[in-house]
């Protein structure tokens, strides 16, 4: 099968175009700029629009305009730019417009730095904008998934008429891995509700205003029902060696890759450890966490932050099992050996068997 060695950021753009995306509006920011650069190169060739907007604020409203007009559209940014987009995300969710946003996370708060971090979890997964809404959030941990989940993101955006995030970190965005792209490109689709400037769509209206409290509440309930359906039907996760795991590790993105190496290292020493990797961060794999809680003794959460996804794990467990956390921040990415030390420490702390003579080999 034909594979291409490609950067995560570029894989998103190629996959998006194959998935029928024909508009990219964005503003440069490291480590997400390759997305805009690749879109600038390929979008015009595909008969689509690329425009470098005057700001991320403008970008997100350009997405609003393109989506309202019925075109598959996307943007990409990182921390500061995503912060600026939050008002627009609320409008997009309120107006039920499908679109895709790639967030290639860097260090924060403020200008922070451009190294990989996972500090945007809260603003993306919990929604940094106003009102009762969610964005669907997909978290790739490989370049292949950058491609695959981007295509999925467009489908989910259409199916739920909601913005969908591809949430990755600088490491996944900047690294190259072989990717097999979808074999058959998707035909740009037609949305019956879109404002297409045609006689058939003339009476269509895209709005997020419901002035009467009862009308707005009805609208919010409709969105709520949609999110409940999404929570039932769209949860995705990967389990790695969890079958007999006494310690369940959780992490996403580049952290999950490191955790796989940690699981390998510790399994070799006889420690029964496994990985539960959420692929959808919203909806969060609550049921999977609860199922594993029945057999596991404890959970270890690892993030490139001071603990954001951690809250979702705690909520899912609701006190059923202890949760320990290991985080690095500021752009530091811990090697597997460092994380393995944390796991051994918590395993011992909670009485999980760690043979000392086996430890000596680590």
């Amino acid at each position: 099968m034909p594979k291409q060695l490609i950067k995560g950021n570029e894989a998103i753009v190629k996959s998006a175009i194959l998935a029928g995306c024909r508009a990219f509006y964005g503003y440069p920011i490291t480590p997400a700029s390759e997305l805009a650069e690749a879109a600038a190169k390929y979008m015009p060739l595909a008969g689509g629009t690329f425009l470098q907007a005057e700001s991320e604020t403008a970008s997100i409203y350009m997405l609003f305009g393109a989506a309202a007009a019925g075109v598959r559209a996307m943007t990409a940014s990182s921390g500061p730019g995503i912060s600026l987009m939050q008002e627009g995300l609320s409008y997009l969710a309120g107006a039920e417009l499908p679109c895709v946003i790639a967030d290639i996370m860097r260090g924060g708060p403020g200008l922070g730095n451009i190294a990989p971090e996972q500090g945007d979890y809260n603003q993306v997964v919990k929604g940094g904008g106003h009102g009762c809404y969610h964005t669907i959030v997909l978290a790739p941990d490989s370049v292949q998934e950058m491609a695959d989940l981007t295509a999925l993101a467009f489908d989910l955006a259409d199916a739920y008429r909601n913005p969908v995030f591809v949430l990755a970190d600088g490491a996944i965005g900047q690294m190259m891995e072989p990717v097999e792209f979808m074999a058959r490109p998707v035909e740009p689709r037609h949305m019956p509700w879109a404002v297409e400037a045609t006689p058939e769509t003339r009476k269509n209206l895209v709005t997020s205003i419901y002035l009467e409290p009862d009308n707005l509440e009805a609208h919010i309930r409709k969105l709520e029902a949609k999110y409940r359906r999404c929570e039932r039907e769209e949860v995705r996760f990967e389990e790695y060696q969890t079958g007999d795991a006494e310690v369940v590790l959780m992490g996403y993105g580049i952290t999950a890759r490191i955790l796989k190496a940690v699981v390998e290292q510790l399994r070799a020493t006889g420690l029964r450890v496994g990985l539960l990797r959420p692929i959808t961060l919203y909806p969060f794999p609550v049921a999977a966490v609860q199922r594993l809680a029945r057999s596991a003794k404890l959970f270890g959460v690892v993030e490139l932050s001071t603990g954001q996804m951690l809250d979702d794990v705690r909520l899912a467990l609701n006190g059923a099992r202890p949760v320990e956390f290991y985080g690095r921040a500021g752009g530091n990415v811990p090697p597997a050996e460092e994380v393995a030390r944390f796991v051994r420490r918590i395993a011992r702390q909670y009485g999980v068997a760690v043979a000392e003579e086996e430890l000596a080999h680590v």
Binding site: P2, K3, Q4, L5, K14, I17, L18, A23, Y25, T30, P31, Y42, P44, L45, A46, G47, T49, L51, A53, E54, T57, A58, S59, Y61, M62, F64, G65, A68, A69, V71, G88, Y91, A95, N113, I114, A171, M175, M176, E177, P178, F181, P185, V195, E196, A197, P199, T201, R202, K203, N204, L205, V206, T207, I209, I254, R257, I258, K260, E264, E337
Partner: protein
């Protein structure tokens, strides 16, 4: 008289009944004497006259005119405060045959949305902007607008607008007239019948320009707000004539409708079958990877490090491509950003017969150190039995180890001999292949051919590869295994 009757007749592009409130099917929400009501009628009439109702998209702002979609029987998009030009930009680009109208107040356009309007105008977006300047925030109850006259009171300038606190009134037409792109900029005033007729003509021109495929048009309308101004409709129009028209003179600020040709039409979109090649996903840009992986298990964890400009990232990329050609799983992770700017650069490359877990390499079994700081930084992380290639004739004493294999030579000097220092990285690659046989020669060559785009450089690189192999053959003796 005929003009009067036309104005009284309800335009086709208005809905026959307004669905906003059950008890007010024929009334807008605008106050009596409000400019918005008059401007809406002028706009609806222009849409009728040009026969563009079916292809008009109205972008409604946040402000008193937020509910335009209850009245206009056209495609409607309700935007956020100030962002209508961005929304209009993308809607127009998505539907090039549409006629897109961005309808905005002075707070919307000239305060919160200044960036969006300036850049839409400067890009020459082929949209029509109706800018309703009533010198106040109507919807929120009478706060200062950027267009409020000096000295004028508002709820947020209770002592009057001060040039020292709020500055001067913002002149939108004049400001946009300093840009090259706009095709048509005119200011009109709803101050009397004559002004209303002129406003109607200007709005129609603005739409016509779009129908004719021209660029950006904006019509600024000085518009009465009797409610907030606390005047009668008659006195409100008088204020327009006697005060606001003095601050904001009416007239045409730009008219290139006769000079500018239609904008070029978009190229026809390619067929879906053409897409993969356009995205460089055709055979020339991909590897047909072998079905089966090499039988002997390997896990090469390679760290490449050196100065920026020594080809560190490219060396890593060629290695990864070669691994891919050999049917291995591969990953390539660069250091990026300011680290590169400060002069050093490194990347992690992994080639393995199994699925790669972490692409991050903390314990390499191959270190390719193109300079001394990199050697010093990483040599002690190399796994016993691993390989260290170093770009100098001798090892610094503090970097010596007897449990790893060293291959040291001035690879960049060898490259100089070939004709370009910059292929020093590929000389080192040749030496690595000779010493450690990571993948086959054909795969390295295929990777080079894939990565190096120019034929001249490819020739250099092939020579460099051979030179590196010869150098390694001289050096490698008594390796630790």
């Amino acid at each position: 008289m005929s003009e009067f009757s036309v104005l009284q007749q309800k335009a086709e592009s208005f809905y026959p009944n307004y669905g906003r409130k059950a008890e007010l099917q024929h009334q807008t929400h605008y106050c009596p004497g409000c400019g918005h009501g008059i401007i809406s009628k002028l706009l609806a009439r222009a849409i009728d006259e040009l026969g563009i109702q079916d292809r008009t998209i109205l972008v409604n702002p946040v402000g008193c005119s937020v509910f335009g979609y209850y009245y206009f029987d056209v495609g409607n998009i309700q935007s956020a405060h100030g962002r209508a030009p961005a929304v209009a930009t993308a809607a127009k680009r998505a539907r090039p045959h549409s006629v897109v109208v961005s309808y905005q107040g002075d707070g919307d356009l000239a305060a919160i949305g200044t960036a969006e309007i300036l850049h839409a105008a400067n890009r020459g977006e082929p949209i029509t902007v109706i800018f309703v300047n009533n010198a106040i925030y109507g919807m929120t109850g009478g706060q200062l607008a950027p267009t409020t006259p000096v000295g004028a009171k508002s709820t947020t300038t209770p002592y009057g607008r001060s040039i020292f606190n709020e500055g001067y009134p913002l002149h939108v037409c004049e400001t946009l007239a300093s840009l090259e792109a706009p095709v048509y900029l005119e200011r009109v005033a709803i101050g009397n019948i004559k002004g209303i007729l002129q406003a109607g003509k200007a709005i129609r021109r603005g739409l016509e320009n779009q129908v004719n495929g021209l660029g950006f048009s904006l019509i600024e309308v000085l518009s009465p707000c009797p409610t907030i101004w606390k005047t009668t409709p008659q006195d409100a129009q008088k204020r327009i004539r006697e005060e606001l028209s003095k601050i904001y003179p009416v007239g045409v600020f730009r008219d290139l409708t006769g000079d500018r040709g239609a904008r070029p039409a978009a190229l026809p979109a390619p067929t879906l079958n053409e897409l993969p090649a356009l995205l460089e996903l055709d055979a020339a840009h991909t590897f047909e990877t072998p079905d089966r992986r090499p039988t002997q298990a390997v896990d090469w964890r390679i760290k490449v490090a050196g100065f920026g400009g020594q080809g560190v990232l490219m060396l890593g990329e060629v290695l990864a491509e070669a691994g891919l050609a050999a049917g291995l799983d591969v990953s390539w992770l660069p250091s990026y950003g300011p680290e590169m700017r400060s002069g050093t650069s490194n990347c992690h490359v992994r080639l393995a017969t199994h699925a790669i877990d972490s692409p991050l390499i903390s314990r390499p079994n191959v270190l390719l150190a193109l300079n001394e700081p990199s050697l010093r930084k990483f040599v002690h992380t190399v796994e016993p039995g691993g390989w260290v290639l170093y770009n100098a004739d001798t090892l610094p004493p503090d970097c010596r180890r007897d449990d790893v294999n060293f291959v040291t030579d001035s690879f960049t000097k060898i490259a100089d001999g070939i004709g370009d220092t910059r292929v020093g990285n590929i000389v080192m690659l040749g030496a690595l292949m000779e010493a450690a046989h990571l993948v086959g020669d054909e795969q390295v060559d295929a990777a080079l051919a894939h990565t190096v785009k120019s034929a001249r450089w490819l020739e250099f690189d092939r020579k460099a590869l051979v030179a590196g192999k010869l150098a390694a053959r001289r050096i490698v003796q008594g390796v630790v295994q």
